[in-house]
Amino acid sequence: MLTGRLLGESWVLAWAGRIRVYSGLFGATLKSSIYNAFHHRFTVVVACLAFLLVIAGGLVTSNNAGLAVPDWPTSFGHWFKAHMVGGIKYEHTHRLIAELVGSLTIIVAVWTWLVDKRRWMRWLTVGAVAGVVFQGVLGGLTVLEFLPPAISTAHAAVGQTMFCVLGAIAVFTSRGWLVEPDESITKKEARPLLRHCWMLIGFLYLQLILGAAFRHVWTKWGPAAANRWPAQKIIHAFLYPHILNALLVSGLVLYVSLRAISKHSKIPHLRRPAIMLLILLIAQLLLGFAAYVTRVILGVDELQPTANLVATTVAHMGTGALMLAVTVILTIQAYRYSGEPAQVLSIDGNREVASA
């Protein structure tokens, strides 16, 4: 799967092991010296802002406003000031939120290094900073290279990845994460769930890339822009595979969710994301259909983006981002609950992983 390749599955497994080391060090009670309520709430705010940033990015693309501000990294030569009309308000707002999220991610990293002694956690926040910087550079390249679909699609995919990373950081700093689980699942039970979670992440990434490529090719070469690719060609190349992949994603969501709900119903950290995934799937299928109607059936000859097209497309993209993030969290929790602390401790038992 793409995610597996991107993250390096072996590294993730090792990383998950570290998580188990950490969670296994404490008894059933919370290590109060680790949990920092302000730090955690701050990470939650940053994760929410990252989601807002994903939505703002979707509004830029859907309103065909990606080049409304011709320069980068400044907007018309200024960092903050811009005449917020027409397409400028979408593009400049997206940049302002991006600057805010970038700055707050740096604060998360510094704060984590100050209050959290978990080495992997510290480096995860450093990775998050590197990720948002990389994402910012991709955003700049989309502007300076006039929206090349490959870079714009990568910008969309990395943006949602960073939302997942910041969401995971919020989970790792939560009170619930720092308490040793009361329940556990055996590795034998966990294996099918984890395997299908990884498959789901992979197919969700494929779905994300196909959806983003469809929108960005449409915006760059489609009927409303350069008019170089006929609408039907873009639909055949990207939208039909997107719809086909939606069937695979739906099947995997059903399997993963129903398995988590039926077999691990006593574990809220598995049950809740599973229920959430089912709800999101229903919403996503309806939104996908609505986005198809507004763009492909009603919107091919539109001379400007309509409110319905923008609303359905952005909502569809945002729900997709939430599905990916919830699946990542479900996967992380599945790893956590499938751990056997005694065995894991024997690997890394002497390491000091918590601050006194």
Binding site: V85, G86, G87, G131, E145, I151, A226, E302, L303, Q304
Partner: protein, 258 residues
């Protein structure tokens, strides 16, 4: 950590590998392109030159185009505006680009130094379709009180994207390669779109609101005449231009065209 760095490096390499690797033509500039000293330019003998004229008609009812909502910018007209995509009046079609396809066999033509003017007025591009020669200046005005950005999306020429403040200094550009129906858009106002046609010879015209067009000073001979509309595609016809005579070529587009 090393693995994280590797992941980002690999991702970056993949993205760069996926970028368009097409060779970019030389940068457009504000100056007229100099002609090669070795290539003699064609001097048309006006005493024998003919012309071609005609009318572009539209068969059937004109399609009902959605009105443009410009309310997102207070400096644009507040009321819904008619689009320029299909302009049919009394059965005649405007904004069709007509050109002589095989006129480049006549030789090399010198580009005029007079610019072709394009204006942004009422949050519309005026004209909606224009033609100019390779190397001929395109002078872009903004007589609006709104700021605009001008973003051509060429296939053969260099892309650029520049903003222009209200009533700001003109932007002057040239295009170095022939290209037909190059879209130009404003991303601040997504309804604003027009087409630039760049040819190596002067034998082109754009149909007027009454559908008429005329191409003058054409040396006698047989040619292929092409009419292109942004929505209804391309039509071709053969013409014979006799000395000092005007050939006639009419085109009929319909909603079934393309």
């Amino acid at each position: 950590m090393r693995q994280i760095v590797c992941i980002f490096l690999v991702l970056g390499a993949l993205i760069l590998a996926g970028c368009d690797q097409t060779q970019k033509p030389p940068e457009s500039s504000g100056k007229t392109a100099p002609q090669s000293p070795q290539t003699p330019t064609v001097v048309v003998d006006k005493s024998t030159a003919g012309s071609v004229s005609g009318v572009i008609s539209f068969k059937g009812a004109a399609p009902k185009m959605p009105m443009l909502d410009m309310s997102s910018d207070p400096a644009c007209p507040p009321n819904p505006q008619a689009p320029d995509v299909v302009v049919v009046k009394n059965g005649k079609l405007a904004n069709v680009f007509i050109y002589v396809k095989d006129a480049d066999r006549l030789g090399t033509f010198a580009a005029p130094s007079d610019p072709v003017v394009m204006d942004q007025r009422g949050c519309h591009y005026t004209p909606h379709v224009l033609g100019l020669m390779v190397g001929q200046p395109l002078k872009i005005l903004n007589t609006d009180t709104a700021e605009h950005n001008i973003h051509p999306m060429p296939k053969n020429n260099t892309a650029w994207n520049e903003s222009q403040v209200p009533r700001g200094d003109p932007i002057v550009k040239t295009f170095q390669h022939p290209e037909l129906m190059m879209p130009v858009e404003c991303n601040q106002h997504p309804w604003m779109k027009m087409y630039v046609n760049v040819l190596p010879h002067p034998y082109f015209a754009v149909s007027a609101p009454d559908g008429s067009f005329q191409i003058k000073d054409l040396p006698p001979g047989e040619y292929t005449l092409v009419a292109v509309h942004e929505k209804y595609g391309e039509q071709t016809t053969k013409i014979t231009v006799a000395a000092k005579q005007s050939a006639t070529a009419n085109f009929i587009f319909s909603s079934e065209s393309k």
